[in-house]
Symmetry: C2
Subunit: 135 residues, 2 copies
């Protein structure tokens, strides 16, 4: 792992490499709240080109961008480019994905909203053709 | 207002100066979520020496420290010194205060946990003698 070129704006610990088939590329996760927290908050760090599959949250999610350059997209909507300081409020059950730009690390805090309603539902990968045309 | 000496780690907007008698010193607040959010998140920036009064939250609160050096204290407990990357989970109805060190700006994200339970209750100022002896 080489994180030397990670944005200097990173504040929270990078945590552990996540072994998952729900992302393409390498991602790290550090949970910032205790396991039994009513409000789980994770620090998610994507290597350049890494993104998660389409998915949705039963209670919604909030992303607070802390480093790098990345994207957020809701199904049938345009891609939004994200930079440090950006905040994304994702409504319950909205199908979406997020991840890094091809040429940049990307980190955000991810806050589960009303996790007691239910877990995330993971869906298909983002089409490579769609991702590869992003600038 | 002079924020030139604010920590370079600041990511989120500083927002507006807060006119309040619940803090000693000058504090800025930028709400990062919409006014009707189920999960209000604010970016709070304290000038050196600024701290809030003792208070408690009906549903609890989580602080994510993003810049500078500051303190957190619960009633009848020792003061904790805070630095960027620190996370404080405050249980419901626990009397506490937070704020900057005398010689440093301080910024944290503040997340209200279960705000639907009720608002914060504001109490007496932190005793100057107690604050002034902090290093």
């Amino acid at each position: 792992m080489n994180t030397n070129n990670l944005s200097t704006s990173v504040i929270f610990p990078i945590g552990e490499k996540l072994e998952t088939d729900r992302f393409k590329g390498t991602v790290w996760l550090k949970m910032l709240t205790p396991a039994d927290s009513a409000l789980p908050i994770g620090n998610v760090t994507f290597e350049p080109g890494c993104r998660n599959n389409w998915h949705k949250h039963a209670g919604g999610q909030i992303l607070l961008v802390t480093g790098g350059r990345g994207y957020y997209q809701e199904w049938d909507k345009p891609v939004q480019e994200l930079h440090p300081g950006d905040v994304v409020t994702i409504a319950a059950d909205v199908k979406h994905w997020h991840g890094a730009a091809k040429d940049s690390w990307f980190s955000h805090l991810a806050i589960e909203v009303h996790p007691e309603i239910g877990p995330a539902t993971w869906l298909e990968p983002v089409a490579d053709d769609d991702y590869n045309q992003l600038k």
